[in-house]
């Protein structure tokens, strides 16, 4: 799991390094949004990769909304 998570970490590091110069000059909120999105993505990615039971969003939605489908 850690090995696969490294893919995500490298991808986000590349994004941060390439955008660093541009984002430095933009308002602070841009930096915060970047960090929030990347961390949220990493959290979701780590949760999906874990070995114990994962609750998938589509399965969960199907359970709740399934009875409302007319067909």
């Amino acid at each position: 799991m850690i090995k696969i998570l490294i893919i995500y970490v490298i991808a986000s590091a590349i994004i941060l390094i390439t955008d660093f110069k541009v984002i430095r000059d933009l308002p602070k909120i841009n930096r915060w949004f970047t960090y929030i999105f990347l961390l949220a993505g990493m959290g979701i990615f780590a949760y999906t990769l874990q070995i114990s039971r994962v609750v998938y969003a589509s399965v969960w939605l199907q359970k709740w909304l399934g009875p409302l489908v007319p067909f």
Partner: protein
């Protein structure tokens, strides 16, 4: 931004709908409506045209602005909530499409490459297209839109001699209940056409462009499903994962040109990536409108990566993508039926001529009202 032409709008609308629909919907549609699957597309296309007309009317209230801008300028709080809701909708479409395209690549083209790597490559390309902004997206649309139309137009010509018209029988005995069931599946996908008034201002976008785009898409999809049935039959089509791909595989020009499908897929794949890029572009654009200091271009990469990880959290496996279609319509109907009607009710153009003659300036409208 450069001047937007009618052709660009029609092609963008077409590309945003056709790629995923042609891949993810036909087998379910055929398993429900059998040989009348094409009628399902026509029914949902008709419904979407009505809703598109409502949204186009609403966008004419402020002709200088697109629907996102005009909603935010007229109702600062409620407009932002609506834009955020639509951003969520397009985010879910983006997540689904990333998974569809990487699953397709994994199943058909690169079976040994891990899904995570395929999806990452797809996401990286999409991020680069979306970062280029509207100019890049429209440029690629103009390039690949006509190619996709030509490929779809050539298909029946090449496959004509292999068609078995007996497989379409009984043609006139339509089971409308099953056809409606098929429309339930397809309406959410064709409803993506409603994106047009949200990104193009009332000055550039006319209802007839949306009408042409919907007509083109529904015609091409209906033709693809009919060809599927004529070549493979109902029983095989409903059991295939990607019947449209199987249809392309059946195309043989001559004996020596084997794997003609690879050429078609190579032409179709950039269109699919463009489809994802449009979703990502819309999300970044919406974010920029909701919070003006945020740079939309800089948000493309983080949002793209978030969508990448969500693609693996939303769907447990490839089959789930197909099973989720039934419930997806229920969610999508809120965005393509309930919200457009709501927007039309509160935002339709004023009858007072004085209040209508302005290029999107809310203060002018408020002044005229006093």
């Amino acid at each position: 931004m450069q001047k937007i032409t009618a052709r660009q709008i029609v092609l963008l609308g077409m590309i945003y709908v056709i790629n995923t629909t042609a891949l993810n919907v036909p087998n379910q549609l055929v398993s429900r409506a059998h040989q009348h699957a094409f009628i399902s597309f026509l029914v949902s296309g008709a419904l979407i045209l009505v809703l598109l007309y409502m949204l186009t009317r609403s966008s004419l209230r402020f002709p200088g602005q697109n629907l996102f801008e005009s909603l935010i300028s007229r109702f600062p709080a409620l407009g932002r909530v609506l834009v955020v809701l639509y951003m969520l909708f397009f985010f879910m479409i983006l997540v689904r499409d990333i998974r569809i395209v990487s699953d397709f690549t994994n199943v058909v083209l690169l079976p040994i490459t891990p899904l995570l790597i395929t999806a990452l490559c797809v996401t990286a390309t999409v991020i680069y297209i979306a970062r280029g902004g509207a100019r890049t997206v429209l440029g690629i649309t103009e390039l690949y839109g006509p190619i996709i139309i030509i490929v779809f137009a050539l298909m029946p010509v090449i496959a004509l001699r292999d068609f078995n018209f007996g497989l379409m029988r009984p043609l006139l005995h339509v089971d409308w209940g099953r056809v409606t069931e098929g429309s339930w599946i397809s309406v959410a996908y064709i409803g993506q056409m409603l994106i047009l008034p949200f990104i193009f201002s009332g000055k550039d976008f006319r209802f007839k462009y949306g009408f042409y785009a919907t007509l083109l898409v529904v015609g091409m999809l209906a033709a693809a499903v009919i060809m599927d049935i004529l070549l493979l039959g109902v029983e095989i089509t409903e059991r295939m994962m990607y019947p449209t791909y199987e249809l392309v595989r059946q195309l043989r020009i001559t004996d020596f040109l084997d794997r003609f499908d690879l050429i078609v897929v190579a032409l179709w794949y950039p269109g699919m990536l463009l489809n994802l890029a449009i979703s990502l572009y819309i999300i970044c654009y919406g974010l920029k409108l909701v919070i003006p200091p945020v740079s939309g271009k800089m948000m493309a990469a983080p949002i793209g990566l978030l969508a990448y990880s969500c693609a693996f959290w939303f769907y447990s496996n490839s089959i789930e993508l197909f099973n989720f279609n039934e419930v997806w319509t229920l969610i999508a109907l809120f965005f393509i039926l309930v919200l457009p009607i709501l927007i039309f009710l509160v935002h339709h153009p004023a009858k007072n001529v004085k209040r209508r003659e302005h290029g999107g300036d809310v203060s002018l409208e408020k002044g005229a009202r006093k």
